[in-house]
């Protein structure tokens, strides 16, 4: 039945074009692999020094502290002192105190911002406000650190007795402000992804705006919001300059936010700026702490990704 056309059809493969197309594909793939190499390099750099570190300090001591000869249990972090201790918890403690404070600020404010932007503000206003808020994330952190130390701490000192010159509180508050856009932005995306139909359904039943926002949109976007919060924690945990400048450098096991604390990142920055010799145990401790920080943030990122992936599946 077929009856080929008079003019021949050039629908067959052409080698030159195929080669060009696949070369382009490989070149692009190569570029995409740079990021994989980056990860490998990070793990390699961190792991190699960390292994050296654990050649000198036991994993047990690093994670759980040690029991002294007199039977007393101790967990302190003091690699730079003559009496060296390598129990990482005080730095983790400092990190999380500041991070928790920051999240106490950033979570309600960031979520309220997201709700305002998605549910209340007109598209025009939210188009202006959203980038304005994102500017907060663009401010270099050294500026926040300076602001916390020279502006916030003196004000807080007037209100709160017993506030140390360097303290977790002021660093945490300012860091919270820095993290607002992270939480606001990711949750705004999550809330915008909630179909308009759900909102209309709720309005159709006689809900007020607030009820729609809190009873329908918020729960529907919950996993996206969780992802935002975890991402915020991960930012807070990894933040360096604010804590290095404003929170102090003394890792202690304390829950008092008025105290000086020493975070993991502050330790890294401090040693990096200091005089520790390459190859010394305090230098290697730098990488062990870096590795710990890497693993913590990695875990947080993976959790956040998993949660938001599930969320996306619900609405796509």
């Amino acid at each position: 039945m077929s009856n080929p056309e008079g003019d021949s059809l050039d629908i067959y493969q052409r080698a030159d074009r195929n080669i060009r197309e696949s070369l382009i594909g490989y070149a692009l793939l190569f570029c995409a692999c740079v990021s994989v190499l980056t990860t490998i390099a990070i793990v390699y750099v961190l792991a190699s020094e960390t292994i050296n570190f654990f050649g000198k300090v036991s994993v047990g001591e690093f994670l759980f502290g040690k029991t002294l000869n007199n039977g007393q249990y101790t967990c302190t972090w003091s690699p730079q002192f003559a009496d060296k201790n390598f129990c990482v918890w005080p730095t983790v403690n400092g990190t999380f105190i500041v991070a928790i404070l920051a999240m106490l600020v950033a979570t309600p404010l960031g979520l309220a911002t997201a709700i305002y932007l998605t549910e209340y503000a007109s598209p025009r206003i939210s188009k202006i406000l959203r980038p304005a808020i994102e500017l907060l994330a663009g401010v270099p952190t050294v500026v926040y650190g300076y602001f916390a130390l020279t502006f916030v701490t003196p004000i807080l000192a007037k209100i709160i007795p017993g506030l140390s010159g360097f303290n977790a509180l002021s660093a945490g508050l300012v860091m919270g402000v820095m993290i607002i856009p992270t939480i606001a932005s990711v949750s705004t995306d999550a809330m915008t992804a909630v179909p308009r139909a759900l909102r209309e359904a709720a309005y159709g039943l006689g809900s007020t705006k607030k009820e729609v926002a809190t009873n329908v949109v918020f729960p529907a976007a919950l996993s996206g919001i969780c992802a935002a919060i975890i991402l915020g924690i991960s930012r807070a945990v990894g933040e360096t300059m604010i804590v290095a400048i404003a929170a102090g450098q003394r890792p202690v096991l304390t829950l008092d936010p008025r105290q000086t604390v020493g975070t993991m990142t502050a330790y890294i920055a401090q040693v990096a700026k200091g005089d520790s010799r390459v190859g010394s145990v305090e230098y290697q401790a730098l990488f062990a702490v870096g590795m710990t920080l890497f693993l913590i943030t990695l875990a947080l990122n993976i959790i956040s990704k998993q949660i938001s992936k599930r969320f996306q599946e619900t609405y796509e």
Binding site: Q80, G248, R250, Q270, V271, A272, G274, D275, V278
Partner: protein, 346 residues
Amino acid sequence: SCGGGETPTTPTATGAATGAATPAATGAATPDAKPTAAPAASNLTGNVTIDGSSTVAPVSKAVAEDFAKANPGVKVPVGTSGTGGGFKKFCAGDTDISNASRPIKKAEAEDCKKNGVEFVELPIAIDGLTVVVNKENTWAKCLTVAELNTMWSPDSEGKITNWNQIRPDFPSEPLALFGAGADSGTFDYFTEAINKKSKVSRKDFQPSEDDNLTIKGVQGNKGGLGFFGVAYFEENAKTLTAVEIDGGKGCVAPTAENINNGTYAPLSRPLFIYVSKKSLARPEVKAFVDFYFKDIKVVKEVGYIPLPEAALPKILERVSAVKTGSTFMDAPAGVPIAELLAKDLK
């Protein structure tokens, strides 16, 4: 720093330099010549690499800054690997000049020897630490080394928390300690002087890499006590009180005079640069070292105490004659500089 290894001071041309080239290696320039006032561009080129003590680094950086104006072709990166780290590189032949906040150790000297690195040892300044308290602190005018030790000893951690535990007639006022960050040369030196061993200290003090923050801490705390370089105190003399130190020979104030004549003990020490003999043969290194001592008044600007007048000619002679070896190695503390310079090199 452990980080970069070298925190560089790399002076280069600003294009502002005018005038004829200065003959580089005369070593006989007028002592009053102001390098900043009359910059004269030389046509020297090359690098002078410096590493070592972070305590000494500010002096070398300042000299490098001035040197750069006259010698646009020469770069002088100044690293801060610490005295020990600096010697390690120096004795491996990697650097031209090593900054040191203590004399070279025997083991390090042997290291150098093994690698065929001969060096010229040049004291450049004296470092003194001031112990400061809050303006409202009217009781602690003078503290003994033993009392300081009580405050700072590791055993005091969590226990000595009030001034009245230091001396019974002190008022009951919470003790708030501020100090240099545990990763600084100043901290090592203070602990060595007060607690007899470097890095031995209580840990519940407020550490900071920035002296500035120590100053703020003591300013804001009635029971505060901190320490830092003498020169920084002078800038903040209005808002802080310096404590006299009793090292066994009565209360001594941290004045330039007391530091210079060795009576302000144990919180003062000499600072050095060590120059490789091989490097000194290079014109740019020679020019830099000569310049160092022409510019030596920067020491004061940077915060240290200048060497006694009498010592300078001896040091310049070491340079011009390329006298290698050390007289300070393993010297006990408290011996005046001039005396040590006079000793035989070994």
